[in-house]
């Protein structure tokens, strides 16, 4: 009887080293991180394909917002209940990477595409379009004049839309 009481006080504090390994994983941190990475990576393969999500990437920003919300909830849990949840170290790292992804995304979206030459000497509306003769995909030479004069299927040609693009080089 007299032995048991001191022995009991020698038992390590339940919130000590052992408890650290038993703290629950902080899932919102990882979910938020994965959502943020998806927000970053999904623009080119998915959202850039549709003009409504391409011109202003609101869908990606919305996904980023959801990701950061999860990270916020995870961080709050990690710091408010540090004995209960893990994530005091991983949380700030994952959040920093996610925020960096958002910043880089904004930079590429709003800055990188704008360094285009002004094309100030491009022909204007009402002017004659400069003629040209270029090879089509079968190697046949095609001029603007021939495009305008040759009927397309059974319809008379009313005009041509020239779409200049960067190409896939």
């Amino acid at each position: 009887m007299t032995d048991s009481t001191p022995a009991h006080t020698n038992v390590p504090d339940p919130a000590g080293p052992q408890a650290a390994t038993r703290r629950r994983p902080n899932a919102p941190l990882w979910i938020g991180f994965l959502i943020s990475i998806f927000a970053f990576l999904s623009y080119i393969p998915i959202f850039a394909k549709y003009p409504s999500t391409r011109d202003m990437p609101w869908a990606n920003f919305l996904i980023f917002a959801v990701g950061l919300l999860f990270l916020f909830l995870g961080l709050r849990r990690a710091y408010a209940q540090p004995t209960e949840y893990r994530g005091k170290i991983a949380g700030p790292i994952l959040t920093a990477i996610s925020v960096a992804a958002l910043v880089f995304f904004c930079f590429t979206i709003f800055s990188l595409g704008k360094h285009l030459p002004a094309a100030t000497n491009a022909p204007k509306v009402g002017q004659k379009a400069p003629d040209f003769a270029l090879a089509d995909s079968t190697g046949r030479k095609v001029s603007l004049a021939s495009l305008l004069s040759t009927p397309d299927a059974s319809h008379p040609t009313k005009g041509v839309v020239l779409i200049f693009y960067r190409g896939y080089w």
Partner: protein, 100 residues
């Protein structure tokens, strides 16, 4: 594409890509309209659309732009984007083409 045909307006895509590259692209993406190859940037320069050194290996390519030309060869509508990502939407071009 059928909407353009109905209006009697032919889409023509121009880039520095070679005819075989354009053929590959058309086949993979199912494009049926005309692709023209301008490796020496003759037409691209005639329309002042040269983007110097912007190609992957530093060669000159075209900046994106769209021109609607009527049957008399007169330019009726132009879209010169200020941002690579933002090109004319098909419905914008169709709207302009509908006025021919």
């Amino acid at each position: 594409m059928q909407d353009f045909e109905k209006l009697g307006v032919k889409p023509v895509a121009i880039s520095v890509d070679s005819p075989s590259e354009s053929q590959d692209l058309s086949r993979k993406a199912g494009y049926t309209y005309t692709f023209l190859s301008d490796p020496n940037t003759d037409a691209i320069r005639a329309y002042d659309l040269l983007h110097k050194g912007a190609g992957v290996s530093g060669h000159d390519i075209a900046r994106p732009a769209e021109f609607l030309i009527d049957s008399t060869g007169t330019i009726r509508w132009i879209n010169l984007t200020g941002d690579l990502r933002i090109r004319a939407r098909p419905e914008q071009i169709l709207k302009a083409a509908g006025t021919l």
